[in-house]
Symmetry: C2
Subunit: 182 residues, 2 copies
DNA sequence: GAACAATACGGAGACTGTCTCCGTTTAGCA
DNA sequence: TGCTAAACGGAGACAGTCTCCGTATTGTTC
């Protein structure tokens, strides 16, 4: 990649991160281009679809996901606390900007999604937490890990669109956690 | 209301129901107007916001909600079955077209939403089912009815955006139901 | 049944966002 | 320094939302 292309690429990603955080997933891409000081053509050449841009933004996010799961697994306390804590972290991770919970959760099951690999990392982090509980023998056997992602993703999606705070989300996560443990 | 206005109003609602079912909540309103044989001005005079049109469409839906809850309450079987059956009906009711689960669930908590009264009917139906279980003493006490709507609405939203079928939704509803019962 | 408000219609067009095409510019190599 | 492949960027096509306002229709009054 040529130096000027690299420069523009980085600048667009940087600006997009900012704009998406401010205005949510639906922010105008021409606006992103303008703020980055490039033409729309340049933006669309680098990122043909909105999701390609989202994908690039999420590079640093991926690292945080793994790290967060590590921390959750190191958590001292009951299994229920462990799970609940992970769920809260999970919701936080996928709720970085408006519209994100729905996008990430549906991308998880879509083989054609450009951000699928990123979501896979999240799914794997979730697997690790569930596997730990399964080994402790406290997890019900008949639920697949992806269903758990969907349940928690569903809660996050509703919280996002209804603008609920963490305090309102907690009881819902408790219900899901209690439904999963035996 | 003048006769011609009435005629157009009814026609727009009829056509919109069709178009929304075909193309989801995001269908073009000018397209609705065109198919109804009226100008966009006419459509927007009758329905200034997209949700006003949705509201009108939902008139008949409201009756079905109450009826469905009645049937669910008449259901013979265990409390768990009753709840699970209601949840499945609930998901069906709010998943009439693409995008609807999210809209309906977030409208439920939004005092300014034009379709709030319609959602209220759904919330009340849900209340009746939960009240029945509460009287049987099988429901955990610390969860508010609206949280239950959000949980089930969250599942429906994800199912909608991931295009899951009823078979994939069921286990998630089981988790929620088991988390709610004690 | 003619005249006249009041009411409603509908389409042109302003505005916003998406995305492409292609003439122009630039980087980097020989 | 000159050349060419790579990249730029903006004009503009296209689609959707929504409004304004001149025109047409309704139904009432005499």
């Amino acid at each position: 990649m040529r130096a000027d292309a690299r420069r523009n690429y980085d600048r667009i990603v940087e600006v997009a991160r900012e704009v998406f955080r401010e205005q949510g997933y639906d922010a105008s891409l021409d606006e992103v281009a303008k703020r980055a000081g490039v033409g729309p053509g340049t933006l669309y050449r680098h990122f043909p679809k909105r999701e390609n841009l989202l994908d690039a933004i999420m590079q640093s996010w991926v690292d945080r996901v793994t790290e967060t799961a590590d921390k959750a697994l190191a958590h001292e306390g009951t299994d229920r606390d462990l799970l609940l804590n992970w769920f809260e972290q999970y919701v936080g991770l996928i709720s970085q900007h408006k519209g994100a919970p729905a996008k990430l959760t549906s991308a998880m099951g879509d083989p054609d999604s450009p951000i699928r690999t990123k979501c896979q990392v999240l799914a794997e982090a979730n697997d690790r937490v569930l596997e730990r509980l399964r080994q402790d023998g406290v997890l019900r056997e008949d639920v697949e890990p992806i269903q758990v992602c969907r349940l928690v993703g569903g809660v996050a999606t509703i919280a996002d669109s209804s603008e609920l705070d963490a305090a309102a989300v907690r009881p819902m996560l408790e219900v899901v956690a209690d439904g999963l443990l035996r």
